[in-house]
């Protein structure tokens, strides 16, 4: 096994980041001009990193798959962003945000990283306000906060139900400023196909122009991946249609380790699945759990009548309702973390109490909140979410409870990185959801935005300098080097191979089938036999894909089917790695629930003795079993306990 060095700085927890910054290497202004950085992705992490690098004086090239950097999927985050400001004076602190995040992640994240995240959270809010991000405010003119799952304080800053949009537009504005200045060059509608490694270091990328199909080579002194998560391996998820895991998968195959691939977040409050033509699922923000109460009928006969359409939820009296989260978790109630809320919903539905036509839904009810606060307050807080719900379901949530069910939302797993956010390939960094991140086995609500912006604005601008400091004498790389030739050739061959199959099934058909395998066998609840079965089924599906997929058209054109085929080919490999990781982790922790390992009352049962580690998978070759490396997690500063939200 390779010994993984997380490069955690020495010293007390609260001083590690300060110590790091005090002793790291820097690059002087005239040398910065001679160094190039590639950033792939323009979401919160990518846009904030690229803008910050540009401001510092580096030459930056940014790549995005959309027509504009503003369309990255960070834009869809609704509820908010956490910070330890303690403006409401309710007992918050950097330590408490750190503690809640470690605990929420079920003790499977690094202490030092999470502490740094909590530490810079306050800088993020300052930065965004200075950019003109219109956060919600109180009548006195100061910032408003609300609460989110897994916390007993109100530390979430928000901009109506569009926090992700406003934060991304803030980062996009900073990026636009740097593009105008000339320090950053933006390449839109480009998809990364390969990483170029020269003498063991990341030195460039191969991209496809999604309009012309032209394959391009780009070189740099360092490469940052900020390409988001891989939740779309499930086909149905709350991710955008184009969100994909291919860049991460390509660097894994070039030698970057993949951390905790099985750690997937299933979000409890999404609009339920309704038909086989469905293309994606829609999230209803966790912030709704501040005022909404989750319930199912207490009696099966009521649930049955509801499913048949014979009874309406509003006709069920209070004493025939089961507010199961309030019943099971009185201390946190409807605000338990996401993994706990999702499993509890599944438990009720599996037991026969589910509602909706499929029986795979529970109610999220605002009746009490509307009575208590008035409709106008609920409208001001969640108006756009209620409208979104009504458009999709065709029911008015002010009058009848919302129907919700868990759906794939976020991947805690991702490219393994050390404290500097550097991968196991020197010169390749990963930020935001693309790295295996600071969220352990479960991410708390409103922490993804925090991590994306922390990585991009406040971590990478320091740590990348520490790497580039000894690169100042390295001249710019020509793109006619053999390593570029080879990488481009590999990318082209793959595309030609896909186009030449000319089978009978569409890309989406394969993607849907993979999604079903993943959801049924590698989803909310997992067990040994299922995972073994999943691995075999995915392998077979992958073979079938390469024999029978139909990709129309050619490379030299706008070809969305080809784009999808390239991504699905990678999902068919990544899905298998997820199942493998879930199989070897013989414990339940956070979003990873193994049926064999649970407490008597059905809570996740960790095995700290054997599994307090990050799994870091190493690619060993086509159709060969990957190798598992372990980074032990050492808890020096907090006591590891069973999570208790009761």
């Amino acid at each position: 096994m390779v010994k993984l060095d997380a490069k955690i700085p020495q010293g007390p927890l609260a001083e590690k980041w300060t110590n790091y910054k005090a002793h790291q290497n820097l690059v002087n202004p005239s040398n910065k001009r001679r160094l190039d950085i590639i950033v792939v992705g323009t979401g919160l992490a990518g846009a904030s990193a690229a803008a910050s690098f540009g401001e510092m004086g580096f030459n930056v090239k940014v790549f995005g798959i959309h027509d504009s950097p503003r369309r990255a999927h960070s834009i869809a985050a609704q509820g908010g962003i956490n910070a330890a400001k303690n403006y409401p004076n309710d007992g918050d602190s950097v330590y408490r945000l750190f503690y809640d995040t470690i605990k929420g992640g079920d003790y499977r994240a690094r202490e030092a990283n999470v502490y740094r995240l909590a530490e810079v959270s306050n800088n993020i809010i300052d930065q965004c306000v200075a950019q003109g991000v219109p956060f919600a405010r109180e009548y006195g003119g100061l910032l408003d906060n609300r609460s989110f799952g897994g916390a007993q304080v109100s530390r979430t800053f928000y901009a109506r139900g569009q926090t992700g949009q406003q934060l991304l537009l803030g980062a996009y504005s900073a990026l636009s400023k740097e593009i105008k200045k000339g320090s950053v060059k933006m390449f839109t509608r480009r998809e990364m196909l390969e990483l170029v490694v020269i003498e063991g270091r990341a030195r460039g990328i191969i991209v496809r122009d999604l309009i012309t199909g032209k394959i391009e080579r780009h070189s740099a002194h360092a490469v940052v991946l900020a390409t988001g998560g891989y939740g779309n391996v499930f086909f149905l998820s709350t991710n955008a249609m184009a969100s994909n895991g291919s860049a991460a998968w390509k660097v894994y195959k070039k030698g970057a380790f993949f951390g905790n691939p099985s750690f997937t977040q299933i979000h409890p409050t999404c609009i339920p699945v309704h038909g086989d033509y469905q293309s994606k699922l829609t999230l209803m923000s966790e912030s709704l759990r501040n005022d909404g109460r989750i319930w199912v009928p207490k009696h099966k006969e009521d649930a049955e009548k509801i499913r048949k359409g014979e009874l309406k939820p509003t006709q069920i009296p209070e004493d025939r309702r089961d507010y199961y989260l309030e019943r099971r978790y009185p201390a946190f109630g409807n605000l338990v973390p996401r993994d706990v809320a999702s499993r509890a919903a599944k438990e009720r539905c599996d037991a026969g109490y589910g509602i909706g036509s499929t029986g795979l839904a529970v109610y999220l009810d605002f009746e009490d909140a509307i009575k208590r606060l008035g409709k106008h307050v609920i409208e001001a807080r969640y108006g756009n979410l209620f409208q979104m719900y009504e458009k999709i379901v065709d029911e008015n949530p002010y009058e009848t409870p919302m129907m919700i069910y868990p759906a794939v939302h976020y991947t805690m797993g991702g490219i393994w990185v050390d404290y500097e956010l550097q991968t196991t390939i020197p010169g390749l960094f990963a930020a935001g959801e693309a790295n295996f991140s600071d969220h352990g086995a479960n991410r708390l609500g409103a922490s993804a935005l925090m991590q994306g912006l922390s990585d991009g604005y406040f971590v990478l601008p320091y740590t990348i300098q520490n790497y580039l400091a000894d690169q100042i004498r390295v001249p710019r790389f020509e793109t006619n080097l053999p390593e570029f030739e080879e990488a481009e050739k590999a990318a082209k061959e793959r595309i030609e191979k896909l186009l030449a199959i000319n089978g009978t099934e569409t890309v989406d058909t394969f993607h849907r089938r993979l999604g079903l395998i993943m959801w049924d066998l590698v989803g909310m609840s997992r067990k040994k036999e299922d995972l073994e079965k999943a691995i075999t089924m995915i392998q077979e599906l992958r073979k079938e894909f390469w024999k029978n997929v139909k990709v129309p058209g050619k490379n030299e054109m706008v070809n969305p089917e080809l784009e999808k085929a390239i991504r699905v080919a990678d999902y068919l490999e990544l899905g298998e790695l997820m199942a493998r990781d879930a199989l070897v982790r013989e414990e339940s922790c956070g979003g990873h629930f193994r049926e064999e390992y649970q407490t008597e009352d059905g809570e996740a049962l960790r095995d700290d003795k054997n599994f307090t580690y990050v799994s870091a998978w190493e690619y060993t070759g086509e159709d060969k079993e990957p190798k598992l490396n372990k980074e032990p997690l050492v808890f020096e500063f907090i006591e590891v306990k069973q999570r208790n939200y009761k």
Binding site: S48, S52, E55, H66, D67, S68, P69, R70, R71, H73, A76, K85, Y87, D126, Q127, C128, V129, A130, Q131, G132, P134, F135, A136, R137, G141, L142, R160, G164, Q165, Q166, L169, S173, S176, K177, I179, K180, T188, I211, A240, M241, H274, G275, Y277, S279, Q387, M388, K391, I392, D394, Y457, F458, P461, T506, D508, K550, G553, M557, V558, P560, E561
Partner: protein
């Protein structure tokens, strides 16, 4: 439900396009409009035909990528939503639906229903930001802002940059888009420092890119999926005039 679709097909920017008829059958009224197009495309692929290209991504009305002109209206018949939020229950069985791309000179067609909206990015680059760098900013609560102003800024900032305002306007004017950004910063103390330069630079860029003038038809407001108010255009006009005046005096 069964439908007849008349869809604009155009192989590339340089080639001529035309409306082509397609029949789709057994579409669920619960499906979204884009899911209906997915069904058509899946069939076209199976039949060896070129599927219809259109921009889309989040499918929840926030990324601003989708951009279809449906029966003569940007984002279709419903008010306050994007194409991806439009559902088939809004149409009748047997109906004919005409689907076209945004039509505006500054948004050239790339293929079929996809258009190039990079002009919007260029306008933002001309001044749609506060020129501060990362770090060294004051504490967030050191800049108190009246709730009313913060709310107005948020109303303006809700713009998703989809371009429906331009597509709806007979002059292909981008005034609603530009004014939303100008307005967001004009009402916030953070934006006041560069307000004069911002409005002048963004308007100049808008004109340079070939967007038309505003003749107050308010089609933009009527079709905006985020229901952004034309009052922001009025604010931008005031900002612009006073900026010009002051720069002349100076």
């Amino acid at each position: 439900m069964d439908l007849t679709l008349k869809i604009w097909r155009q192989a590339s920017a340089g080639e001529k396009g035309k409306l082509v008829d397609y029949q789709v059958q057994n579409i669920s009224s619960e499906a979204s409009f884009l899911e209906m197009l997915d069904v058509l495309n899946e069939r076209l692929v199976r039949e060896g035909e070129d599927p219809v290209a259109f921009d889309h991504d989040c499918r929840e009305g926030i990324c601003g990528a989708c951009s279809l002109y449906i029966n003569g209206r940007p984002h279709g018949p419903d008010k306050g939503i994007t194409t991806c939020q439009l559902h088939m229950r809004r149409f009748k069985d047997g109906e004919t639906i005409v689907i076209e791309p945004w039509r505006a000179k500054p948004f050239p067609v790339i293929k079929d229903l996809m258009v190039d909206r990079s002009a919007f990015d260029e306008i933002i680059q001309a001044g749609g930001y506060v020129s501060i760098n990362t770090g060294g900013v004051p504490d967030a609560n050191a800049i108190p802002i009246p709730k009313r102003d913060a709310d107005t800024a948020m109303d303006a900032a809700a713009c998703i940059g989809c371009g429906a305002c331009v597509a709806a306007c007979k002059n292909a004017s981008a005034m609603l888009f530009v004014s939303a950004k100008v307005s967001q910063f004009a009402v916030l103390p953070q934006g006041k420092i560069e307000a004069r330069e911002r409005v002048q630079n963004m308007v100049a860029k808008m004109d340079e890119l070939g967007f038309g003038n505003c003749t107050n038809t308010y089609a933009c407001e009527a079709e905006c999926p985020k229901e952004i108010s034309v009052s922001h255009i009025a604010r931008m006009n005031r900002e612009y005039l006073s900026a010009k005046l002051v720069s002349q005096i100076e």
